[in-house]
Symmetry: C2
Amino acid sequence: MSILPPGSTLGILGGGQLGRYMAMSAQSKGYRVAVLDPQEDAPAHMVANLKLVGPYDDPESLRQLADCCDAITFEFENVPASSLEPFAAKGLAIRPGPKALASCQDRILEKTLINHCGIETAPWKPIHQAQDLAKALAELGGEGILKTSRSGYDGKGQARVKTLDDAQAAFAKFGSVACVLEGLVPFALECSVLAARDTDGHCETYPVCENAHQDHILDVTICPAAVSESSARAMRSRTALLAQELDYVGHLAVEFFVLPGGEVLVNEIAPRPHNSGHLTIDTALHSQFEQHVRCVLGWPVLPYESIQTAAAMANLLGDLWDHGEPHWERLGEFPDVRLHLYGKAKARPGRKMGHLTAWAESPLAAERLVRDARAALGSAA
Amino acid sequence: MSILPPGSTLGILGGGQLGRYMAMSAQSKGYRVAVLDPQEDAPAHMVANLKLVGPYDDPESLRQLADCCDAITFEFENVPASSLEPFAAKGLAIRPGPKALASCQDRILEKTLINHCGIETAPWKPIHQAQDLAKALAELGGEGILKTSRSGYDGKGQARVKTLDDAQAAFAKFGSVACVLEGLVPFALECSVLAARDTDGHCETYPVCENAHQDHILDVTICPAAVSESSARAMRSRTALLAQELDYVGHLAVEFFVLPGGEVLVNEIAPRPHNSGHLTIDTALHSQFEQHVRCVLGWPVLPYESIQTAAAMANLLGDLWDHGEPHWERLGEFPDVRLHLYGKAKARPGRKMGHLTAWAESPLAAERLVRDARAALGSAA
């Protein structure tokens, strides 16, 4: 195991809140951080040693980043393969590696890989052209969800389709790019497993999180999830298997559907720290961001120990600012709720501005705390 | 209680590791941070939203800082009163306030205030001129420690004196500035109490830390200290009383001598987060830095809850780099030891480069862990 010595520079492609937390974690160990993001004063720029402003696919920006860093990691998976070339050319550690990035940015490749490992997903069909839709729809029971194979997130590039007309309209609206059509799954719960894998192949997983979405955006996460021990074990072992299959180095999250009978299906893989893992900042001995930078910089992964019995996290979206500044003083009523904000200057509806974490004796009690605290922020006492 | 809204800018005078941790804590809540330090690329500059380089007493630098911040705090106490004027002129929150800063930067004022509260210190005499030395020395039993009244830290501006000649030579060497002569105290332990006090006057103290020094520099801290419950209670209540007396807002540390019979004497007050409180980053629900910025920004202080039974912290001085890069890979043998580095580019003997924290079932077990881990860093396996 070869550790990049502190004082080295970690390059981060992407300067949102995930990049910001990665930067803070690396800096806590004495590393320098260089961040490339197209937007000036991005959340991670605000804390970085070196800020580069430019598009992710701009060869000059990428060359500048490669010139000043000793390892490179990613805030998000939608990086064109060509963006990795300047780093590969300099022989820098690229973590996670090209295989993981390529597989996870394309739903067709990703689902193929998952199924190839013997792991179940929702039934799905690749859609390369409009003509593929009729047969796929029929095989999946006549309805489903059409998703672009690349570049979707937070519900973007997704459409619920109930007829062939729906499907054809959605496919056309997406620009006739490659898609997958997924069959509907009557799931009971959505869950995620956080995991980190180091350069020696050791992988640690975190207790299963349970996620509730609102308008396709993560709303609330609780941990541990209300699932059976065998479902939890199945999700954690599948996550570790996928990390191994991807030669993964760094932190990842695997999203699951849990069926009413306890069976688990993989929904998708996020090759990076994940919104549902934000609660680890407060409730684990080592946060997902610390684990990520440890693995990327060549340190051994550490066991994910929870320091709280149960925890919950609620996202704070820009909508909370609709009627002006939230009522911060009301958090005084919630001493076991912690506020995190990402420093974004402009609040827009749906924009992730921050989150609340709470801990309690049970997941439901923690969930009530974050929901109540978030509601309180929205109204004067 | 009036909370400065997130997005406001916290000004920090001083850009070392204390300023760096303050900056990170404020940023975690969505605040912006502006740091003034005379040195380019100071540890806190590396993470700040806005870096100002200039002397602490330079009116132009101070005016620039006052222009861009909404509240101001301090990494260290040796700020001339005139440095506060630009902030006072703009009506900004100055926390801790002028009274606390003035009292704690001058040993004569500080000890006078402490004794005035009915709290014992080591016996001491003010020395304003060389002629004061003979009488003071006689009254203190013929020997003592001469300390400059202002600007001393880490043993600088201190001399152990055994004769009048010693004392006169030391006084002359210090430039005949105002000093205190302290009587020797046969203490059993040195301890510190960390505390934070908010704008509403609520004060929270942390379990007593026990400190071991090497060459006048803090070497190892363990918590909780091996003191009786009544000694611990006495130290915590005296700390809260002093915070109140100083109208304190923010985090402070009070250093104590514990005598063999359990009596406690105040050594000095540090009006800021303190090196002995670094272990709170890993072992308390809310670190000393989080508590400091909470109080400074108008949030209520939170209870200091330990999340570990016992903990220890060992400083990493520049000497560890004497023979090249430390053997970081050896930390793999110590999964319960956490590394913190401050990003300083140049290691010099005696320079605080970082620290190790460990937790265990007992303070002594934790101490052994940090000492063993630090020793391991110095030699290949």
